[in-house]
């Protein structure tokens, strides 16, 4: 079997939605909200800018998930495998950061927004990883 034959079953890249680009856009919003909040630890910050950034990030991730779900031929097996393991890894990282914030008695409203940011972070990154791998893999059910 030649490389061309094996890769013939790979999803046509021209038809793929911009999941990676959307994932990066959401990540930029989450990181910006995180920087804004952590820069104001030890005081009660105005949460509105962070909430707006995270709401936009949530919308972007939701759009990416819908676009992803509408892809017909795709290496879903590989996507699920990479997504699952990366989700476990980033859930551990996010959990650790939540633990640090709770230990430091971050005010509850700020903590809630930080947790929302970490949840988006822990879902967005595995989605990008899974997509980056699966787009070059043979199509599976």
């Amino acid at each position: 079997m030649t490389a061309a034959m094996e890769n013939a079953d790979v999803t046509d890249e021209r038809t793929l939605p911009p999941i990676g680009e959307l994932g990066i856009a959401a990540l930029i919003l989450v990181v910006a909200a995180g920087i804004y909040l952590t820069a104001q630890t030890n005081r009660h910050p105005n949460l509105v800018p962070a909430v707006i950034a995270l709401t936009l990030a949530g919308v972007v991730v939701a759009v990416a998930v819908v676009m992803l779900a509408r892809i017909g031929k795709f290496a879903w097996g590989k996507f699920r495998m990479v997504f699952g393991w990366a989700l476990l890894e980033y859930a551990v990282i996010a959990g650790m950061l939540v633990y640090v914030f709770v230990l430091d008695h971050i005010p509850s409203a700020t903590l809630a927004v930080l947790i929302a940011a970490l949840v988006l972070f822990a879902v967005d990154i595995p989605m990008m990883f899974g997509f980056a791998v699966a787009r070059y893999q043979p199509v599976s059910p």
Partner: protein, 208 residues
């Protein structure tokens, strides 16, 4: 994640020229299990240090983790990356199969250790207080790390994973690996250069 990669048939009766077909890919594991165990042990020690609020341990984790993170980023981006770019395709494949799985475990571990310990250390030393003279430098470091995180998690790491899974195929696509490796090397170089800013900020913080 440790399928055996079949190597194309090599005839002993073909002494002239390179063997036909794609270059051989050594067997490798995408995620080294021993590395995961070591990383898990380090994370447990970090949690214990944070819970106990041990200043020495927090300082150790932050300095050792940050030094390794910065050093590895600079070395990979500015020394190893250009070397890989000039290697032959078989040498590049062999190097990648041994090097990239390790990076997959080492880098996230160093990042979480450095950031979590650093945040606690800053709190312990009073740098998080808005009226601290070092607060501005701290926020600058958040921004530098944030930009590096977006590049590393959004571009570098997906390219790293895609290369590893491509190499696991029976017949890896050399052109695709080359394209992804160029992305990996370029982004490693950018984060390496950005680490210089981190070094400047952290040395200013430590001496102010």
């Amino acid at each position: 994640m440790s399928d055996t990669v079949k190597i194309g048939p090599i005839s002993a009766e073909a002494p002239l020229g390179p063997p036909p077909g794609p270059p051989p890919v050594p067997d490798f594991s995408i995620v080294p299990r021993v590395g995961v165990v070591v990383a898990g042990a380090i994370i447990v020690l970090l949690i214990v240090s944070i819970a106990g609020n041990w200043l020495w341990a927090l300082d150790f984790f932050h300095v050792a983790g940050g030094g390794l993170w910065t050093g590895i980023d600079l070395f990979v981006g500015l020394a190893i990356g250009p070397i890989i770019g000039r290697m032959s395709v078989p040498a590049r494949i062999e190097f990648s199969t041994r090097f990239m799985p390790k990076m997959l475990v080492i880098m996230p571990t160093l990042v979480i250790v450095t950031l979590a310990a650093g945040y606690q250390l800053a709190r312990h030393l009073g740098f998080l207080a808005p009226n601290s003279p070092n607060h501005g430098l701290l926020v600058a470091s958040y921004i530098v790390v944030g930009v590096m995180a977006v590049i590393a998690l959004g571009i570098l790491e997906p390219a790293n994973l895609a290369v590893l899974f491509e190499l696991k195929k029976e017949r890896p696509n050399g052109e695709r690996i080359g394209k992804l490796m160029r992305i990996f090397i370029l982004t490693a170089g950018i984060t390496g250069v950005m680490q210089v800013a981190t070094l400047v900020i952290m040395t200013r913080l430590a001496t102010s």
